[in-house]
């Protein structure tokens, strides 16, 4: 299925869990925040969140700034 992650389209396995996607992207769940279709997903729900075709994800983290 096709999803969008940080503005880029990605082909991923059907029914992929958010936690698995983060694993594939080598991202530590404790340092990112995920917004799925404009809704922030709490960390404890990452394993239970099944992505669907057309999902738009924003994966963000803290960076330096003033």
């Amino acid at each position: 299925m096709k999803i969008k992650v940080n503005g880029e389209e990605r082909q991923v396995a059907s029914g992929l869990a958010l936690a698995s996607l983060l694993q594939d992207l080598k991202l530590s769940p404790s340092i990112v925040v995920v917004e799925r279709n404009r809704r922030i997903i709490p960390r404890k729900e990452y394993s239970d969140t099944q992505l669907v075709d057309g999902d738009i994800l924003e994966i963000v983290h803290l960076v330096g700034g003033g």
Binding site: E35, I40, H61, V63, G64
Partner: protein, 262 residues
């Protein structure tokens, strides 16, 4: 000049800080320099930004938070936002990332000057206060706007000294006085402080704190400048509390006029 109740520590929401210097974490040459500068500054609060993870650099790179001493409070900002909606969205992401309700609210009006869009800032402030955020809005030197932000529930107001990164110091000290008179919440001058004397001058006006990023991070020696800013903030605050002499047109002798040999 306005006199406000002289409190020992800087109160922001539920927090009480001994250091009146908040420091930004952007624009350093590397994280180690940043860490050393933060320690030299004596700061107890630093700003951070929220950005997309760069997915092309999977699993590599250093993490900002590994270089921020653990006792320092994080103050996430909404830098890069040009509308109230963007700022609210970013603030929610920031709260999730930092686990704090503090937010430095920025709604920028113009890419060249980076001056705040005060209308958007006020709108965002109202929305964020309703959602339980402790809002620290970056604003112009307009005391009318500062009062409106306070009325909207802002925990502090943060008027600029001069545009972000411009290093021109406080260009409108009279308006800073007006803001100090207009609001009861802490006033923290944010943006444009370029060197130690700028910081001292700002504190001598009677403001409650300063937020400095570029002035430290892009100095030739950031760690030295961080120390200088720390001392300047302390000196400026002390001078303010000490009560300076008035400026006079004519001289008045410091040594006695009697007892001169003839």
């Amino acid at each position: 000049m306005p006199t406000k109740k002289k409190i020992e520590r800087l109160k922001i929401g539920d927090l009480e800080l001994t250091s009146r210097l908040i420091v930004g974490t952007g624009k350093y040459a590397d994280f180690q320099v940043m860490k050393d500068a933060l320690i030299a500054s004596g700061t107890e609060m630093v700003t951070v930004a929220i950005r997309r993870v760069d997915l092309s650099k999977l699993g590599s790179g250093e993490c900002l938070l590994d270089f921020v001493p653990k006792n320092i409070h994080l103050l996430p900002n909404t830098a890069g936002c040009y509308t109230a909606d963007e700022a609210v969205r970013t603030a929610r992401l920031a709260r999730e990332a930092c686990g704090t309700s503090l937010v430095k609210l920025e709604v920028i009006g113009d890419q060249k000057t980076l001056l705040p869009d005060v209308v958007g800032t006020l709108e965002a402030c109202q929305l964020l206060v309703k959602e339980g955020f402790t809002v620290m809005p970056y604003t112009s030197e307009d005391p009318i706007v500062a009062k409106k932000l306070e009325d909207a529930g802002a925990a502090v107001v943060m008027p600029l000294a001069s545009p972000i990164g411009s290093g021109r110091g406080v260009i409108n000290p009279y308006n800073v006085y007006f803001i100090l008179e207009a609001v009861n919440v802490p006033v923290i001058v944010d943006a444009g402080v370029g060197t130690a004397s700028d910081a001292a001058i700002a504190m001598e006006l009677g403001v409650d704190g300063l937020l400095i990023n570029t002035g430290i991070a892009q100095a030739k020696e950031p760690v030295k400048m961080a120390s200088a800013m720390k001392l300047a903030v302390e000196a400026g605050r002390l001078a303010y509390l000490a009560g300076r002499i008035p400026k006079k047109l004519y001289g008045s002798a410091s040594s006695p006029l009697e007892g001169l040999v003839e």
